[in-house]
Symmetry: C2
Subunit: 315 residues, 2 copies
């Protein structure tokens, strides 16, 4: 059994925290227990993770220091966040594996994801990154940097960047080799560092690839038996936030697509997760599950979360 696990923000640090290393270590220690449960049951794991709050803090640090230290572009900040989260996650997971006297070990591969320079997403940036600002400050920064800002529900302004689709991984070959060798691999954190091919060369771009779509791409690459998207809720719901709300335990790809088209799942939240599941299953993946972090083992082996399967799959 091979699983690609996409960890959401709640797996890396508490939503109401301030982003201290102690908070991150505590959250990652708890997360690692669930991941170690899977390793103990013989699951080969590839782990991807979000980086929104982490890269947001790096961007904020850059901004406060901008008069003294030249800020790095988004791609480099993404790579920094892969080092940061990857290191802490590998350490927490190795510790969990050692406590159980398991021989499997984890490693983190800095991962670049190739995107298409002609992806329509580049003409319409939608992904908010970094801190929010009152309008005058956003205008000043936009003027100085050329960054694009949009107004948020709270009337403040945030920078938005393109969110192009993941095409392939630059480090595909070594990634497969270390998985085949039996290691738990942390890869493509934050959706991977996005790069475009320009003639014979690769170049980083200021964009954010959706981490769940990247995980789906990763799951296809490694021929995973299951794509497991772990998040803060136990199941996908329809009628979310209404009296008619109903948790779903199983969806076919067609049902999932219909619900997506009907706008049942909010963009930037459950929407991309369901899309990622559809993407994996519709390109040959056997099964994708969206589940709560605590239910990781049941989501793989038993009955938990919302499972998305192909239209022809048996009940």
């Amino acid at each position: 059994m091979r699983a690609v696990v996409a960890l959401g923000g709640n797996a890396l640090s508490p939503a109401d925290g301030t982003g201290t290393v102690a908070e991150m270590r505590a959250a990652l220690t708890a997360t690692s227990e669930r991941l170690a449960d899977l390793v103990e049951r013989g699951v080969e794991l590839v782990i991807s993770h979000g980086n929104g709050p982490q890269v947001g803090r790096i961007l904020l640090q850059q901004e406060y220091a901008a008069e003294h230290v030249p800020p790095m572009p988004m791609d480099v900040c993404g790579a920094e966040s892969q080092g940061q989260v990857g290191y802490l996650l590998v350490q927490a997971l190795d510790s969990a594996l050692r406590r159980r006297r398991l021989a499997t070990r984890a490693l983190c591969l800095v991962t670049q994801v190739v995107v298409d320079g002609r992806d329509p997403a580049f003409r319409r940036p939608t992904k908010p990154v970094g801190p929010s600002y009152p309008r005058p400050e956003a205008q000043r920064i936009a003027h100085e940097t050329g960054h694009v800002f949009t107004i948020q529900p709270d009337k403040r302004w945030r920078r938005v960047v393109a969110s192009p689709k993941p095409v392939r991984f630059v480090e595909e070959v070594p990634l497969l080799q270390v998985i085949e060798a039996g290691h738990v691999v942390v890869a493509a954190g934050g959706g991977g560092v996005p790069v475009v091919e320009h003639r014979r060369e690769l170049r980083g771009v200021e964009a954010v690839v959706d981490k769940d779509l990247t995980a789906a791409r990763l799951a296809s690459l490694v021929h995973a038996d299951v794509l497991l998207i772990l998040t803060a809720v136990e199941r996908v719901e329809v009628g979310f936030g209404t009296p008619k709300a109903r948790a779903l335990s199983r969806l076919t790809v067609t049902e999932a697509r219909d619900l997506l088209a009907a706008g049942e799942f909010p963009a930037g939240s459950m929407g991309p997760k369901v899309e990622a599941c559809v993407e994996f299953v519709s390109t040959g993946g056997p099964r994708a599950v969206i589940a709560g972090l605590a239910d990781a083992v049941d989501a793989v082996f038993g009955d938990a979360g919302t499972t998305i399967v192909g239209d022809g799959a048996d009940g």
Copy 2:
């Protein structure tokens, strides 16, 4: 032929620069041409690099933002710098390899280095990190954080941390696997993220392992034919800065040790490089060379730099 190459600061960005990404990309593009020369000649490369200026800038960014974003400890900052430099280096090197139509590709492995918690270095921190301060500010920070500061030659104060010896790499097994598979591996940047073993667990420590000693350890691990320490000068000199200055082209381990003991090589500069060469050659390594970046190929195949060999080695 297998070589471990330790890249000094000048290979990553210009000494007189301000640390912009454009400066880093330009320096890494030039460096990558020399590394690609080696790959083109069939050398299997493992690349390690310094991170002093890079982690210094991350520490400075953390400090300017400290009231708003909780600063991360040194080990996490080191991991961030591995992501940052590793990503940019892999990208520049892959581009250089692609331009020459070579099939070899590079990857960056986030690397932890185990140090001994009882290493005497922990009782006497010596390695300056981060920005320098006037005395009152250093005292305030020391009071708030418990960090240790020492006065520098310019009368300003800098934080110092321990510089323990590298013992082994946490990611040893996958590291060897990706090297054997023929990839160029960027590993143990900044000397590796230092961790200690505590009961069954690993824990990051606020320390900096000397990047040249780490490269020597890496060279022993992968049974390198040569440890190549690339730096800003073409050869090691005795009588450095005096009228009697004389460049050395070849030293035996015993000669190198004698010169180290005589204080010929400054600590924090040429001293650790010569020590790293002695360490590699005295533990069975065939040959170590300290050379200028431009002379990388000659240093491996011809006659450039200062070569350090075992006492019994043929002329």
